[in-house]
């Protein structure tokens, strides 16, 4: 038992180049205040903010009402092909795979219930990168983002 517990997160980017080269890096994230608000509001009225209706394709604009990881490049917000897993009993990992588009990815976001517009507007924005290094992709490269949220 804990006097308090905390929600934290981090993400890993994995770029698989067309020539087989793999580049991996790992970064801290910033948990968005909307998630804090949703968790608090759920004490009064049951809230659904579960990442259980995931984006299933790389497309712009991202599909309305879906959850997961979106990426900004070539002047558009794209959804990624997402899946989730539980690497430990206290953490949830969302994996987003992006390929087929030549773009410099300059931002990403994780959230619940996307607005379906060419924007980063979610019903509940979970997290953003604390720091981000732009990633330039050709259409044959694949960018995989593994975003892990941990309750501890």
């Amino acid at each position: 038992m804990n006097e308090h517990f905390k929600i934290t997160g981090r993400y890993r980017t994995i770029v698989k180049r067309a020539n087989g080269k793999v580049e991996v890096s790992e970064w801290q994230n910033t948990i968005h205040s909307e998630l804090k608000e949703a968790v608090n509001d759920a004490f009064l009225v049951s809230q659904n903010y579960a990442l259980d209706n995931l984006f299933s394709a790389v497309e712009t604009p991202p599909a309305s009402g879906k959850d997961g990881i979106i990426m900004y490049g070539a002047s558009h917000w794209y959804s990624s092909n997402c899946s989730t897993s539980e690497p430990t009993s206290t953490s949830t990992k969302v994996t987003g795979v992006f390929t087929g588009v030549a773009a410099t990815i300059s931002d990403i976001a994780l959230g619940f219930n996307h607005a379906g517009t060419d924007s980063d507007s979610f019903g509940v924005n979970f997290a953003d990168p604390t720091t981000w290094n732009n990633i330039t992709l050709t259409s044959d490269d694949t960018l995989t983002v593994e975003w892990t949220i941990t309750v501890s």
């Binding site: 801290q28 948990i31 968790v39 903010y49 309750v151």
Partner: protein, 169 residues
């Protein structure tokens, strides 16, 4: 956007005893967030979970392992008092509860009021969905327990009010 790299969940509770002669005794303590709630919160990121305190206890009711079920308070949420020195299932009372936004911004304050019985209160728990029969643990999900507690002995005309605040910062 607020710049948080973490969300911290913590809590505290305040006990106010109003004695029949008008004396007021007050104490404030830290709580321990229970692992049940930690697990529920983690699950809520992937699957919708209900932990809303929206079916609150609304009367003072007693239950123990001999009496078995709660006559009217089964499956309700709020603050439960343990009045047996050993375990909730050996004797506990519900409180009359309310909930409101607390301070700081992302917090909720649950208030439980108890009066009308001569008892010693050995502990309090705040939780979601009181089990249908007397049990220990008494709730489907315990949200928090006292980190420390001083026993409180009450006369029939005394009134104990517990204000329990859970905050997200």
């Amino acid at each position: 956007m607020e710049d948080n790299s973490i969300i911290k969940v913590c809590g505290q509770y305040r006990c106010t005893v109003k004695r029949e002669d008008g004396t007021i005794e007050q104490g404030e303590w830290k709580n321990t967030i229970h692992a049940d709630f930690l697990g529920l919160l983690e699950s809520s990121l992937a699957t919708p979970q209900d932990y809303a305190l929206n079916n609150l206890m609304d009367t003072v009711e007693y239950n123990n392992e001999q009496e078995g079920g709660w006559p009217t308070q089964a499956e309700k949420d709020g603050i439960l008092l343990r009045t047996d020195s050993l375990a909730f299932e050996r004797g506990s009372y519900t409180t009359v509860c309310g909930i409101a936004d607390g301070t700081p911004t992302y917090s909720k304050k649950v208030t439980g009021v108890f009066t009308g019985y001569v008892v010693t209160v050995y502990e309090a728990n705040i939780g979601w969905k009181l089990k249908s029969i007397a049990a220990d643990p008494p709730f489907d999900v315990i949200i928090a327990t006292p980190t420390s507690w001083s026993n409180i002995t009450l006369a029939v005309a005394d009134e104990l009010t517990i204000e329990w605040t859970i905050s997200f910062s």
